[in-house]
């Protein structure tokens, strides 16, 4: 038995007037006249703030989340599942990861709103309003100063601890006592690279010529240093530096200038104008760091005789404590860049920038983000990488009072597979590579599909990292690896077509983002310490060599396919 349905009568007109939103008609003339006199947003309801902010923040946060979390999870799970070791201080590391993500989010936004308006305005106006010499001088300063603001450069300063002072004395000296010299060398290297890149725009040099002309002296110097036992340990660090420099600050700033210069030189239609600087910015610093090493060896004949650095005072000043130390470091990294851009904008371009409050917001957020990122670097990324590196050898070698977890060949294999997977995963997740893939697919009219590029680069990085890890585990010298790899790259460069050359060399720089670099650097140092290697550098160098070779090879393959197709048709 069902209940009888009660019908309630409702007039359709009443229903409509209840459902409808009331419309009040106001003349736009009146509103317009009134709105002109108002200056600030009065009566912004809480819900309005929420509606405006939430999508904005969540999009940016998830961007970082997607890049960081899979990597961190992979490292932690590998450690737990394959190596049966717990992650030490898990909460602290998780907190650090959160700080890294928040910091990167804020920092990238800060760069976008605080720095990019300047560099776009300068890049557009400066080449027309001053002499080429001034432009080149500015390019040099910009490259150098931007290096200081690069988030990953902080990882270098923290890397000194993992080096054996007895077997690599000069390297240890450079990292612990003269880290500023190291950073300066890198900065000067990047500055010079930017200058050469700008000259390339002026004169329309071919990338191929430039690569050969830069690479040959670089390799010669590397070989010279590699055969000198005092200098040999520095080589790995030097080539790693190249990978560190080309990050999210330098590349867009320099490109904005480059586009302006290219336009002024009358080559704005050259589709490949954007490529090339990244390449040079990873070769020049290596050169500069080796030179600093040579200088250091000449200056300090015997590091062991140097008085040990007096330990830090027991009383730590308030500005050296955790939140302030990071803030000060961030300020020191970003302030010079802002100052340079502002001065040039003010006095050389002579135009005041619009929307000062938004630029101020950008600068504040960039500094805050950098500070948070540095904090996360110290408590999150570096310890995680370090731990993973330190526990990996347990897979194949006997620890203190314990047998190896796996038989030697399986353990070694597992380690290399771990390294390769890490490189592959980190590369696939890199947003810059995806963007580059789209550009390349368009530029080559689909001959070089995006997927193929991403796969080629990812496999190159994976193999590179695996070789780098093998270098540390087996105590190989990095010299033959570098020489052999770059000789292949050089040969490939000479025989390849111009666009593939630019593409291959730039893909090396694209892969090393601000999360991957510290993680891999710390991994190498932890691993080096655990297996008793003199130093744990070189993984990054290999990771940037790998994609150069792999992309060049794929380029060859495409070229041959095209030739064969052409011959087949005739």
């Amino acid at each position: 038995m069902t209940e009888p349905v009660i019908q309630r009568r409702l007039r359709y007109g009443e229903f409509l007037s209840a459902v409808r939103v009331r419309q009040r008609r106001v003349s736009y003339k009146d509103v317009h006249a009134d709105a002109g006199s108002r200056q600030t947003a009065r009566g912004l309801r809480l819900i309005d703030v929420h509606r405006l902010l939430t999508p904005y923040v969540s999009v940016r946060f998830f961007e970082q989340l997607r890049a960081v979390v899979p990597l961190a999870l992979f490292l932690a799970l590998f450690q737990i599942a394959a190596l049966r070791a717990d992650v030490q201080e898990g909460e602290l590391i998780a907190f650090g990861m959160l700080a890294v993500m928040l910091g990167l989010m804020l920092f990238m936004d800060g760069v976008k709103y605080g720095l990019m308006p300047f560099s776009e305005s300068i890049g557009f106006n400066l080449p027309n309003r001053s002499t080429p010499a001034v432009v080149l001088g500015f390019a040099f300063l910009l490259g150098g100063v931007a290096t200081f603001a690069e988030p990953a450069i902080g990882a270098l300063r923290a890397a000194g601890g993992g080096v054996d002072p007895l077997r690599a004395p000069w390297l240890h000296l450079l990292l612990t006592r003269y880290p500023d010299r190291l950073v300066f060398a890198v900065a000067i290297g990047v500055g010079l690279a930017v200058v050469v890149g700008m000259l390339r725009y002026f004169f329309g040099w071919r990338m191929k010529t430039l690569v050969v002309a830069t690479l040959l002296p670089c390799l010669a110097l590397t070989a010279y240093a590699g055969f000198d036992p005092k200098l040999a340990p520095i080589v790995g660090l030097a080539w790693d530096c190249g990978a560190i420099t080309t990050g999210p600050v330098t590349v867009p700033l320099v490109l904005a200038l480059g586009i302006g210069v290219a336009a002024a030189a009358g080559q704005e239609d050259n589709p490949l104008a954007g490529f090339g600087i990244v390449t040079l910015a990873s070769l020049f610093p290596a050169f500069a760091v080796i030179l600093v090493g040579i200088g250091l060896v000449g200056e300090v004949p015997d590091p062991a005789l140097l008085a040990p650095i007096v330990g830090a005072d027991a009383t730590v000043a308030w500005w050296d404590e955790t939140p302030f130390a990071e803030l000060v470091a961030a300020l020191r990294a970003i302030a010079p860049l802002i100052l340079l851009l502002w001065l040039v904008q003010r006095f050389l371009v002579g135009e005041s920038v619009k929307q000062r409050n938004i630029i101020a917001y950008g600068v504040v957020v960039a500094v805050l983000g950098m500070a948070l990122f540095n904090l996360g670097l110290t408590v999150g990324l570096i310890p995680l990488g370090n731990q993973a590196g330190a526990t990996v050898p347990a897979a194949f070698s006997a620890g203190i009072g314990s047998d190896p977890l796996y038989p030697y060949p399986i353990g070694i294999g597992l380690t290399l597979v771990f390294a390769a997977t890490l490189g592959y995963g980190a590369t696939i997740a890199e947003p810059a590579l995806n963007a580059m893939g789209v550009t390349v697919e368009n530029l080559t009219d689909g001959a070089f599909p995006k997927k193929l590029l991403i796969q080629a680069v990812a496999i190159g990085v994976a193999l590179g990292i695996a070789v780098g890890v093998a270098k540390i585990v087996f105590h190989w010298s990095i010299l033959p690896l570098l020489l052999a790899g770059y000789t292949v790259a050089l040969a490939g460069t000479i025989w390849s077509r111009e666009e593939y050359v630019a593409l291959a060399w730039d893909s090396a720089g694209v892969t090393t983002g601000p999360v991957t670099v510290p993680l891999v650097l710390a991994l190498g140092l932890g691993l080096g310490k655990a297996v008793g290697a003199a130093e744990g550098f070189g993984i990054l160098a290999m990771a940037s060599l790998g994609p150069i070779v792999s992309v060049l090879l794929v380029g060859f393959w495409i070229q041959r396919g095209a030739q064969r197709a052409a011959r087949g048709e005739v």
Partner: protein
């Protein structure tokens, strides 16, 4: 009988144009479809509003990249769609965009022959 040289011209149509930030168009189209709209045309544009200047630092959260949505609706239906879209796109928050409605003199598109036949010849 429908002749070959005849065009069925529809009258009493209204064009609803909605300008929102990039990425919001789907919400708008969904709301409009639910309210009875038959279709929508979306195109991309750039633009900044008067209001954005008054939002202060919050102004950066408003994307200058916009999506413009065209919806053609019958005149007696249009007010309903207009309201639903206004609510769904949260246009009562500054910076979110705007919506306007303009009368169309006439429109023409594919009209199924049996429907055209049902309404016969007017002229």
């Amino acid at each position: 009988m429908r002749q070959r040289d005849e065009i069925v011209v529809l009258t009493d149509a209204v064009l609803i144009t909605c300008i929102v930030q990039r990425g919001v168009a789907d919400t708008v189209v969904d709301a409009a479809t639910e309210a009875g709209a038959q279709g929508a045309t979306i195109f991309y544009a750039r633009g900044t509003g008067v209001r954005q200047k008054h939002l202060g630092v919050l102004g950066i959260t408003v994307n200058a990249e916009k999506e413009v949505i065209y919806i053609v609706a019958p005149a007696d239906h249009a007010d309903h769609i207009f309201e639903r879209v206004y609510v769904a796109a949260k246009l009562d928050t500054p910076g979110m965009g705007m919506i306007y409605m303009s009368p169309l003199e006439k429109m023409a598109t594919y009209v199924p022959p049996e429907i055209a036949a049902r309404f016969g010849h007017h002229g």
